[in-house]
């Protein structure tokens, strides 16, 4: 299956979509088989090859690599969209460890290279919807967060997962000014963290994460606004109470803890009904849960999403 794409992407930078589809089918098959063995059930949206079945739509063309890596919100490197690409070379993604601790029977620290080996990376093509009303489609390389969490065996009092970004103004010049209370912290409810769509990404476009995209490891939660997908993680903590997520603490009336993509709940300063897909001139309607409602809406059954935004 070939899809016409703008010719400003260097062909060396992208993998042809047909290849992605094939890989995806391969991955689906492997994953479905694995899941079937493990859980005794095939997870339906992975097993399906119908492009409309949830995670990718026919009009979701991959956002060019160059845009994905040059237009970023990563305030640790500056508040301009181009700042991360300009300054992220100061980050040293090796050596790097991620400590997983808190309410766990077997807390431990993972070396990033061990992580690559221990959790075989899969490709996941997800829509990314920024709270600023723009969006991308990114082929991530990563693994389900729940695979990592199951290794440390959360205790029954683990209700939330808290993530923390590296705090080192030497490597992250944006942290030299207190634009936000550093370090950046994000959090998920346990069921959100255990959801199969929630991944830890180690790469994108078939290569290791560029620094400006959150090297060496970041969270990706495709049905939530982008700021939930915390970058350059050094610590994951299983906790009893709702984590103090940075933007939520900074401006609680503008950025909720849940931050589920919701076209019906506007940001106080702008509408969330539409979004501009990077690379497109005309805006498109924003989808509830960023189009992943079939998979995740049940997590929020009975919740008033207007109040718990």
């Amino acid at each position: 299956m070939l899809i016409k794409r703008p010719n400003d992407i260097r062909s060396s930078e992208i993998t042809d979509e047909a290849v992605y589809w094939n890989r995806r089918r391969f991955i689906s098959a492997v994953t479905a088989a694995g899941a079937a063995v493990a859980a005794g059930a095939v997870i339906p949206f992975w097993g399906s090859t119908d492009p409309h079945a949830g995670w990718q739509r026919r009009d979701d063309e991959l956002t060019p690599f160059e845009d994905v890596t040059s237009y970023n919100n990563f305030y640790e490197f500056g508040t301009g969209k181009g700042d991360p690409a300009k300054h992220a070379h100061m980050l040293r993604p090796r050596p790097w460890t991620v400590t997983v601790e808190g309410e766990a029977h077997k807390p431990r620290t993972f070396d990033i290279d061990d992580m690559w080996k221990r959790f075989p990376p899969q490709e996941r093509i997800y829509r990314l919807r920024c709270v600023e009303a723009w969006s991308m489609v990114i082929p991530w390389v990563g693994f389900p967060l729940r695979d990592l969490l199951s290794v440390v065996e959360p205790t029954s009092s683990a209700k939330y997962v808290e993530f923390t970004t590296l705090h080192d103004p030497e490597q992250m010049p944006g942290q030299r000014r207190r634009i936000l209370p550093w370090p950046y912290v994000e959090g998920l409810r346990m069921d959100e963290a255990m959801h199969p769509l929630t991944i830890l990404a180690l790469g994108l476009y078939g290569r290791a994460l560029p620094n400006q995209n959150g090297a060496p490891v970041r969270l990706v939660v495709p049905w939530k606004y982008g700021f939930k997908s915390i970058k350059s993680i050094v610590r994951i903590r299983l906790v009893r109470t709702q984590p103090q997520a940075t933007w939520n603490v900074w401006a609680p009336h503008e950025y909720g803890f849940y931050a589920n993509v919701n076209p019906e709940v506007d940001h106080p300063r702008w509408s969330q009904a539409r979004e501009r897909r990077i690379g497109e001139l005309f805006k498109r309607p924003t989808l509830m849960f960023n189009g992943y409602g079939d998979q995740v809406a049940s997590l929020y059954a009975g919740m008033d999403l207007r109040r718990q935004y």
Binding site: E66, Y71, Y75, E132, A251, W270
Partner: protein, 222 residues
């Protein structure tokens, strides 16, 4: 050369070129497809920056003329103000297009009106733009005569309100990093403070007439 000649032959052409730089750079970026991943946002930001910057420069003309004892600089004020209005118009046009046509709503003044009413930073931005309209219209010599110097001047003090509106608009739209809008705010406060203090000292010296006339578009001094 007299001051007036300096301004006409050297300073004004240089100022025209400088004021056109943002437009030329923008045009070049459009033609060469160098507006980055989000061109509409980039155009909005660039035109907004140019507008608020030129507005501040316009406000700085009179104080600069006094401090440098170069009263003829005031001849640049109208042109710079019109350039600020030019960029503000492009800024508003980009926003309006983005809200309607590019949002798939076709020609829809109501969509714009709704957004203006709903979002405080847009309300302030739009009000600021509206304030600049009568100032641009009455910027000609003919209008100065028609209104009379005093009334014209009172009307044009609105430019300070517009300056404050532009800063507030900027301040309310940033997410966390307020450094840039604060810098513009400080510049505005200094410029306004200078005028207020100047006016008070002027009235104490009981020579407000002379001062006022110095800021009329004539003052060519040797």
């Amino acid at each position: 050369m007299t001051q007036g000649q300096w301004v006409r032959r050297v300073v004004r052409p240089a100022a025209v070129v400088a004021a056109l730089v943002p437009a030329v750079l923008l045009l070049r970026a459009v033609v060469t497809d160098n507006l980055g991943a989000n061109p509409v946002e980039e155009i909005t930001h660039r035109t907004g920056f140019a507008a608020i910057t030129l507005l501040m420069i316009t406000l700085a003309v009179t104080p600069a003329g006094r401090l440098l004892r170069f009263g003829a600089l005031v001849q640049l004020r109208r042109m710079l103000g019109l350039f600020a209005f030019f960029y503000a118009s492009l800024h508003f046009a980009t926003y309006a297009l983005d809200q309607t046509y590019l949002s798939g709503l076709g020609v829809s003044p109501s969509a714009i009106a709704e957004d203006i009413a709903k979002r405080p930073y847009v309300t302030v931005g739009f009000t600021t733009f509206l304030l600049l309209v009568p100032l641009a219209v009455t910027s000609t010599r003919g209008w100065v005569k028609r209104l009379g110097g005093k009334r014209w001047q009172r009307l044009h003090r609105l430019v300070y309100v517009a300056g404050a509106g532009a800063v507030l608009h900027f301040l309310w739209l940033v997410k966390a990093d307020v450094r840039q809008p604060v810098i513009y705010g400080v510049v505005l406060v200094v410029l306004l403070g200078y005028r207020l203090v100047g006016a008070r000292l002027g009235s104490r010296r009981a020579a407000p007439r002379a001062r006022r006339s110095a800021s009329e578009p004539t003052g060519a001094r040797g």
